[in-house]
Amino acid sequence: MKEAPKKYMNPYLAGFFLGFVLLTTIYVTGRGLGASGAIKSLVVQTVETVAPQHAAATDYYITQKQNNPDGPLKSWLVFEVLGVIIGAFLSAVVSNRVTVKIEKGPGVKNGIRIAAAIFGGALFGFGSQLARGCTSGAALSGMAVMSFGGIITMMSIFGMAYAMAWFFRKLWINKVN
């Protein structure tokens, strides 16, 4: 691991490749890519394992069970995200980018970065369920099939992130302009 990490791919080339993967997915399976849905399946499985009585008594889990009689983990998105993990890991290996570390803005403490990541993740997870998809499932796949809702969600995500960027600048950039 002495070699320096390789440069990232040209963003337009990477985008074309990503778009091609998405197009292939839609052509073959009729559905787009996603990510948050797999995390939900994991959450539902965890609850069903840890607190079966609670799961059996709550409407949401009951509906989930009816929709996925083979168990929450036997879902398309779970397999897809398994693929994402494999693909991302392989990509990081060939480009010498596998390192165990915490990445953060300059001068930010590790604890703060981790807390922010968990809190941000919680917001994102919550929002993704409300909007029926995250950046992958609603924004990107929605844009590809020209769904109105997908494009609205995309604009809301990026609009809000821009609107709040100034307030959270200390998490990411050192100097205040």
Binding site: I26, I39, I118, A122, Q129, A161
Partner: protein, 398 residues
Amino acid sequence: MGPLVPDIISNEFNFIIAIIVGMGFGFALEQAGFGSTRKLVGLFYGYDFTVLKVFFTAGVTAMVGITALNHFELLDVDIIFINPTFLWAAIIGGLIMGGGFIIGGFCPGTSVVAAASGKIDGWAFVFGAGLGIFAFVEGYPLIKDLMVAENLGDLLVFEMMGISREAFALIMVFVATGAFIGVTMIENKVNNRATQWLKSDITKYSIGIGLAVLVILITVVTPTRGELMNKRIDEKIASGECRPQMMDDDKLAYELMHNYYHFNVVDVRSPEEFKKFHIPTAINIPLEELHKAENISRIVQNIKTNVFYGASYEQSQRACLVSKYHGKADNFALNSTADEFNTNFFLLSGDAPDNKLDNETFVFRKEAAQKLKEIGEAVANLDKPVVKKAKRVQGGCS
């Protein structure tokens, strides 16, 4: 043709497909630098617009591809998953995610990529996303109303704007190009770099954009297979050649009474009209859908002779030519309309006319109506081809 699941690729094998496309997805995201949180949020502070470049390029690539596949009838856009629009949930969910993005520095997909390449903050984000989803699931009864409010269905953005799919794709190509030029300038300014437009880069990117525009223009200019077929048929009708063989209603009635199993009677009117009245033993394929692959297999077969009828002679003639166009030689067009057939046979009333010739016809038709009814009832459940109904694919992230 597409989507290939579930008819060509089974639902079980689809899980293997999921892993394969997932690998491509993960590989593309990691190569683009989406495993790095600072690269992601660079978008919001102007120092790195990789996210916008990758995201927009990917979206437009897929969009143009779908437009082209749809045009060449390789992909049925009516059954692929379209993210449904629940307006308030889409907006509010998006706003909450935007907050999560700027605080957490990832989105779910990219956090998985970061986690896979060893970033602890990526793992933290995935864990957080799990907590957020858990909160959503537990709080679902409270949010339920918001979740389903203002349901606009499978609304497509170009329909909303009142333009064609191709026009919207073209607009998006230009919007993306404009955005790429703009953000490159901002990025250089923020990083105190001079903006240089290298000739080689301009050539390279122009080719890419030009290709996208070209693909869209090809879909605009070239006719679809259905349009091409209709054009050829129009030409043939106009030039007067290739008249379909005609069959009159008495002949059809006679044939059905004696050898109904030799005939594939096709009603090309709308399903509503078909439901009101149809000639016994007839199947219904609306004319506009006749040329579709799943219907062609029902009319191009070796065993039976096709007899087409519709609301007008033009309809049955055209249906006959569509069948011929796809390679079935043995076709007849009924020279009376569905309504005429109904009047001549089933609505026949009064006494038999005195004239001997008319009298014979009258008696025959009365008898035929009775017999056809019986045959129709007898074969109602036997002879019908299995109707293959394509269902919209279930998808999405929730």
